[in-house]
């Protein structure tokens, strides 16, 4: 114990005309069970109250604290200093718009994503308050939840080469979202409708398959699997589109 830790932190306040992007160093004494949540709050309260960063649940559940820790996107709240070297560099997540220092605007990015993929169950049915709930197989419910666990931290997007190069790339989190609704029988969209959303270079065909996304996902979502199956299914859909209708068949995920 009792290490002195050095933090090199990216500083820039776009709302301050005098501010220019630069790195600033802080030192702090390490304490027992220290996490980056504790470090950053102590730095703000004891050393520099202008420091900006985001935490919310501080328990690895809400996704607010994504940042780049020594080059790797991850959640700051469950990064323990004892797993880090004495010198640590903290950068904001790329791709998302910078609010200031380590704080970025993930909200606008994700809201845009919901609209593009129509992140909801599309159905013509109307809810009947007097009826019993529609039944669902428990194994299927669990499968849907497995993909529903994404906390929208943005780490996969920040780690993605395609997302860094093209602004309109949907990213693994969006493709995962689409896969979640494809599994869900309550969503009545057709294969063609899904294809229109993800069967493009901004969608599944823009993905280079290097899987940085799965590597950094703090929730261990099976992104590799999801992307693979989605690519396969959309490739079938593409082929089906150019085949005469009597040769088409619905391929299930």
């Amino acid at each position: 114990m009792a290490r002195m830790l050095k933090f090199n932190i990216f500083r820039y306040n776009p709302q301050d005309p005098k501010s220019v992007p630069h790195m600033q160093s802080f030192t702090i004494d390490e304490t027992e069970s220290m996490t980056l949540f504790i470090v950053l709050n102590r730095l703000r309260e004891e050393q520099d109250p202008s420091l900006q960063f985001d935490f919310c649940c501080r328990a690895g559940i809400c996704g607010a604290c994504g940042m780049v820790v020594n080059g790797r996107p991850g959640l700051a709240c469950h990064t323990k200093t004892k797993d880090l070297p004495e010198e640590v560099t903290l950068m904001p997540l790329p791709v998302f718009k910078l609010v200031g220092d380590l704080s970025v605007d993930t909200g606008t990015w994700f809201r845009g994503m919901y609209q593009r993929v129509k992140s909801w169950c599309e159905t013509k049915k109307v809810f009947d308050p007097n009826a019993q709930e529609e039944r669902m197989d428990n194994a299927l419910a669990e499968k849907i939840y497995e993909l529903d666990r994404c906390i929208e931290c943005g780490c996969c997007v920040a780690a993605c080469g395609t997302a860094l190069m093209r602004e309109d790339f949907l990213g693994a989190t969006a493709l995962n979202r689409v896969a979640r609704f494809m599994l869900d029988p309550r969503d009545e969209r057709t294969e063609q409708e899904y294809f229109d959303i993800v069967g493009t270079d901004e969608g599944i065909f823009g993905c280079m398959g290097l899987l940085a996304c799965e590597d950094v996902c703090p929730k261990y979502l099976p992104l590799q699997d999801v992307l693979g199956r989605l690519r396969q299914r959309m490739a079938f859909a593409a082929v089906n589109n150019i085949l005469p209708s009597f040769l088409r068949k619905d391929v299930k995920l």
Partner: protein, 619 residues
């Protein structure tokens, strides 16, 4: 001044705020939700356990009904609940749960046949009926006669909030995230919206609305040790209290949980103790049997929390850079048990502490967990004091929880009250027009702009906002912690009066430009200290023990004098104490006051006990 106008302004985009928003949007009204963070990061997403509704689909839930749920809720509240609201709640909960299923929540479902479940760490089997296959399943939660907690694995809040936010997006509800309401616009009679600070740019804006909803969640962050997210700092309650006319219902009703981990106060489940975990002190001595020979670690949440605090006050806590704590020991349960049955606990310990609970002790302390009090509303969710103002969810004192809420009832409250209050907001919007008083808008705006300038320029003084906050933390925990007494409370009330003076003299140390977070805290510190004072002052006056409010010097529940609800208002902004009034806990009694059936304790009965009013024949 930028002005944004809408029919309904929801301050808060957690489950309660969004459920109300959806109701209004479905009925054709324009809605904007404000939130400090993207809607899906709201604290609702952190709830893992589940939400109660008497569906009765599962074997262990068989025979459940809204009436049984009602009895559990009223008993749980220690008869502090408004029984009309509790009735609305239990009757609507099953519909609300099914609607969430319709919108896409992947609830766990009934699997037919013989199933193995656990109770008190021991396995048993139950037979799930084939005819119930695929219906919503339920699990067990403390204080309930039947298993009725609907759940999605260990991520119920997450799954429900994501589904609700999807629905909100589909219905065109706008969420303005990274925005903070810092004051209500009102003329003493009608609420016309809010003054809002943009947390991306620092810009101040006015939002005008015909109806305004406060759904800002709990205010646990007036305590240093809380399981709540760091954004649960009472912003909505502060804005309401600031009007001078909207009362804070039951501020003293605060729930604690025995096992928050140290340093970050993340919750580890009661299951640890249920399965045989023990609590140890600085000498690694197991102290609970000395206090509670019968139940030891398995006494109820409030009892264990109280004993732990008592023991630490004797100097037997473990010193740490983060304050005193005790140890939770589950090592003797063995690797196999811990890595299977308590997997989530092991993950929390490893991810946040770097502790392996198979071989090491877990540092824990009792931690603030839930705020039963809030913006006092009538049964339609309309706030007392201002027309056009509503409240729902943990921010509200609608008041189905009284002095102790049951696990699983708060998450359910958010969507059930959201649905019900949403309907009332729609009726209100359909029937009422507002005239926007430009003088009131300008005054409200200018007042906030001036506050910001004064803080930046240090015109009020140069108190350090974090030092003031820390002083508040120490004081509220000493007086209004897990157990309370007249001496400590009196001391805390006096101290908080001094701290309030200091809060009024805060000056920034940074330049305050842009999304500056020091400024955000400086803007609300005076309000936070006022909330803390409401808690301590109301707790001092309430000379009885009811639910989570435990007075060592008044151990009885006193129905003769205290079967009522505290209403705290802050009449003049410059006052240093709130004004307290009281109203009857409930107008209607379906169940007259009686024993809870757990927790023990003596009751001083009412002089004229009320008659039961059967459900359906409500006054």
């Amino acid at each position: 001044m930028q002005i944004i106008q809408t029919d309904l302004l929801c301050i808060g985009a957690g489950l309660a705020g969004e459920r109300v928003a959806i109701e209004a949007a479905e009925n054709g009204f324009s809605v904007i939700c404000l939130s400090l963070v993207p809607a899906r990061r709201s604290h609702s997403s952190a709830a893992q356990g589940g939400m109660q509704a008497a569906l009765g689909n599962s074997a262990m839930g068989e025979g459940d009904s809204p009436d049984v749920h009602f009895a559990d809720t009223v008993k749980g509240s220690d008869w502090g609940a408004d029984q009309e609201c509790a009735r609305i709640f239990v009757d609507t909960a099953p519909i609300a749960m099914r609607q969430m299923a319709f919108w896409g929540v992947p609830w766990n479902r009934v699997v037919p046949g013989e199933q193995t479940y656990y109770k008190g760490g021991k396995p048993f089997t139950a037979y799930e009926k084939p005819e119930n296959e695929g219906l919503i399943h339920s699990r067990s939660f403390g204080g309930t006669a039947k298993w009725r907690t609907c759940y999605t694995s260990d991520g119920t809040g997450h799954a429900v909030l994501y589904t609700l936010d999807n629905r909100a997006a589909q219905m065109g509800v706008q969420v303005h995230d990274k925005t903070e309401a810092i004051a209500l616009i009102h003329d003493g009679e009608t609420c016309m919206g809010a003054i809002v600070r943009d947390l991306k740019t620092g810009e101040l804006k006015a939002y005008l609305s015909r109806a305004t909803l406060i759904a800002t969640g709990g205010y646990g962050r007036i305590y240093r040790e809380s399981t709540n997210a760091v954004i649960c700092d009472g912003g909505g309650m502060i804005a309401a209290l600031d009007t001078g006319v909207v009362p804070f219902g039951n501020p003293e009703a605060i729930q604690f949980h025995p096992t928050g981990i140290v340093p970050t106060d993340i919750l580890v489940t009661e299951g640890c103790r249920g399965d045989g975990g023990t609590l140890l002190d600085v000498n690694q001595y197991r102290f609970m049997p000395d206090y509670e020979p019968e139940k030891a670690e398995l006494a109820s949440r409030d009892v264990v929390s109280r004993r732990m605090t008592e023991h630490m006050r004797k100097g037997l806590g473990v010193k740490s850079p983060y304050g005193d704590h005790l140890w939770l020991d589950i090592r003797h349960l063995g690797e196999k048990h811990i890595t299977t049955k308590l997997r989530e606990v092991q993950e929390i310990c490893e991810s946040f502490l770097g502790v392996d609970p198979v071989h090491q002790l877990i540092p824990v302390r009792p931690t603030q967990h839930y705020s039963m009090g809030g913006v006092r509303t009538n049964k339609d969710g309309a706030a007392y004091g201002l027309k056009g103002l509503f409240s729902a969810g943990e921010a509200a004192c609608w008041d189905m929880h009284g002095f102790n809420r049951l696990g699983g009832n708060s998450l359910a409250e958010t969507i059930v009250a959201g649905m019900w209050v949403g309907g009332k907001v729609v009726e209100f919007l359909a029937g009422t027009d507002t005239t926007f008083n430009t003088a009131a808008i300008r005054e409200a705006y200018e007042k906030q702009a001036a506050r910001i300038q004064a803080l930046i320029k240090g015109q009020n003084g140069n108190e350090n906002v974090y030092a003031v906050r820390n002083a508040m933390f120490d004081t509220i925990m000493k007086g209004a912690g897990i157990f309370r007494n007249g001496t400590d409370l009196t001391e805390s009330v006096t101290k908080l009066q001094e701290i309030l003076q200091r809060a009024r003299k805060v000056g920034l140390r940074s330049n305050g430009l842009g999304a500056n977070q020091e400024l955000a805290l400086a803007l609300k510190i005076e309000g936070m200290v006022k909330l803390a004072q409401c808690v301590c002052y109301a707790a001092l006056q309430r000379t009885e023990s009811r639910g989570a409010h435990t007075r060592e010097d008044f151990p009885e529940r006193n129905d003769r004098d205290w079967l009522n609800r505290t209403l705290a208002t802050w009449a003049n902004a410059s006052d240093d104490l709130p004004t307290l009034n009281y109203e009857a806990a409930t107008k209607v009694f379906e169940i007259p006051p009686g024993e809870r059936g757990y927790g023990g304790g003596k009751i001083i009965p009412m002089d004229n006990p009320p008659q039961a009013t059967p459900a359906g024949k409500k006054a």
